[in-house]
Symmetry: C2
Subunit: 437 residues, 2 copies
Amino acid sequence: MAELDVATQPKTRENDPAAAELEAGCRDLAARVKKASRAMALAGGAAKNAWLAASASALVARASEILEANARDVAAAPSLGLNAAAVDRLTLNTKRIGEMARSLTEIAAQADPIGEVVRSGRRPNGLEVTQVRVPLGVIFMIYESRPNVTVDAAAICVKSGNAAILRGGKEALHSNRALHRILADELARCGLPEHAVELVTTTDRAAVGHLLALPEFIDLAIPRGGESLIRRVVAEAKMPVMKHYQGICAVYVDQAADPEIATRIIVNAKAQRPGVCNAAETLLVHRAIAPTWLPKAAEALAAAGVELRGDAEAKAIVPSMTAATAEDWDTEFLDKILAVKVVDSIDDAIAHIGRHGSSHTETIVTRDLAAARKFVAEIDSSAVIVNASTRFNDGGQLGLGAEIGISTDKYHARGPCGLNELTSTKWIVYGDGQIRE
Amino acid sequence: MAELDVATQPKTRENDPAAAELEAGCRDLAARVKKASRAMALAGGAAKNAWLAASASALVARASEILEANARDVAAAPSLGLNAAAVDRLTLNTKRIGEMARSLTEIAAQADPIGEVVRSGRRPNGLEVTQVRVPLGVIFMIYESRPNVTVDAAAICVKSGNAAILRGGKEALHSNRALHRILADELARCGLPEHAVELVTTTDRAAVGHLLALPEFIDLAIPRGGESLIRRVVAEAKMPVMKHYQGICAVYVDQAADPEIATRIIVNAKAQRPGVCNAAETLLVHRAIAPTWLPKAAEALAAAGVELRGDAEAKAIVPSMTAATAEDWDTEFLDKILAVKVVDSIDDAIAHIGRHGSSHTETIVTRDLAAARKFVAEIDSSAVIVNASTRFNDGGQLGLGAEIGISTDKYHARGPCGLNELTSTKWIVYGDGQIRE
């Protein structure tokens, strides 16, 4: 995803007129979207839903345009070095276009967060005070190859009353342009500002750096992609960044675990979709249950194609395991590989997670109420799960509806981020002449 | 407040062993408080309230210790160049110590935010999901001369389940040490971690820079003081910063204003306490009401000791005004000075506020419902007030209880920040073996 890299030494006006032009262009774009964001903040739910519905229809009606553009991206993919999995993620077809349209329809069906009263009261002096939900403003999404992110991100931003600047990967540029053209065509028709959703179409990677330097126009940056992309965005951004770096998620199988449930959960958490952030990377097994449970679990995991990397004690129980190295405990494999460790106690498991985890998602499997409560209280992760797969840390699964990403930060929003997490609040006070005494 | 300046070129290990020692000391301090924060997150409300009550009693019982330390600060104040107002803010007496103790008692009476369920549901697959409030972790307060901030900040942080690093001004160091000693003595007695509240006692200004570089230990920085202090903290902090730079608050007197109410509000907003962030700096008057209302308002403001700086039209109505300069519209006077402008319409007033305001607090005075609704919808400030003084943008006045500061940012918290604003959330999920399909 080299084309998404943020230039660490952007060219400057002084030494390069083309660079100065790019910087000015980024500034103009961001200023345009900021201006549109003020109208978006006042847009009613009807206009936003009308746009979502119209865009859903237009995606289907103009599918041939999208497929034609996508074919150009797919044809160029080998020359950009994309492997088969990446080409598959990039490729669109009628079914996938239908899924994008359905996603728009689902977002339209969610409640409009804007204007919701989150706190209110009447003060002793008669002031009526309310704290209401308002949009953040302009959201800058930086993402990688899946073109559906263009549609989903635009939809979530617009539904939450925000404007959006979208920057996808170079390998999906034609697809993203076609999708963006369709979404943008519908904006003005539905009475929304035409610049409420803009796509960055230059492939010059310095553009991302220029945009990240404009906190006066952009209120939030959301990078979605590999850890190095996210670290660069955090390093350069002058505005807040909604993100997680890694998902090193653990499943702890307690001495009081139901063995069947433990096996079902670890197989699902590891193997159902190993390339995502809420997949498990680490299995911690209580010493008391390891000799009986681990061999069966290893068999089920092997049947699912998972490679096990165990510490000495785990390997003593299941000799077919590879020996885990020190760095395996700190690695997000994003693959069918699982690090396995035998622990002495729930305290050991909690300490291991504190040292090596990424505060994303952890599961305990247990029938013991005290163990469940202790794990839930002491684990400091965005989601702590008892007797279910780590894969449930997801906006849809937790009932938030559409999700723009998962945050492991504590400031602003933590866990899956949906519509509410793209909003702020303002206080509104009605009086009849009150003054401070 | 030079001693609070963040060193822009901190000394480094390479060129100065004393600097290396300071840096290591800051790191040790922050690590110690981070460790204490984990126990604080699990502390029950009873222990936190017991500490607040015990500290309130101890402040009164040990008043002579505090007054003795404070006398040393007051004696040294002239040599530090403090003016009379600053010496007054610094000076403690029995009454002020009683007020600090009462503040602790009031914070004890507030609801404990930790563990509050902010969202919950049962998912179609039987998962029980809850999102609960958890502390942020370690909060670093950087503040200026009032010693009561030491007590208030410690109390708000502890009540919200956080640990705190406090860094007050050099001019209040002896007072802050005495106050901190009393608070710290009560921590262990109440079963709370002894390092949950630490005071930075070195006067080396590089210490602030070192601490701001430790996001692994400090979760939030809160600077309270002049704009230059805040800008330096924002520039150096590697963690989020809760802050506002300025309070350039406006009162707009609409053509449909009640003239009596308008006068009462502008006098209060400007003159009741001119040195605070929610005092008004700008008066915008609709052209239709200016000729009749402005002379009376000017008289009342003059009687309150306020200097008026008007645009040409305002000055034509009230010739005794000084002529406003361009920069007066962008200045937080923090004094009995008010910039006055006649506007053509509510749209002009909103546009002026958009260009010159600081998104802190704006008031409209009107009897016209449509004007009130328009102002409330279109003004993008942390508090928008109808027919009441700007001075009501305050945690106590809005019903939040104690306030640690006012944020004009949209990310995380906006407006007065109380206990809830010093918390995050985590998702807790209980299942009985659910996996993702």
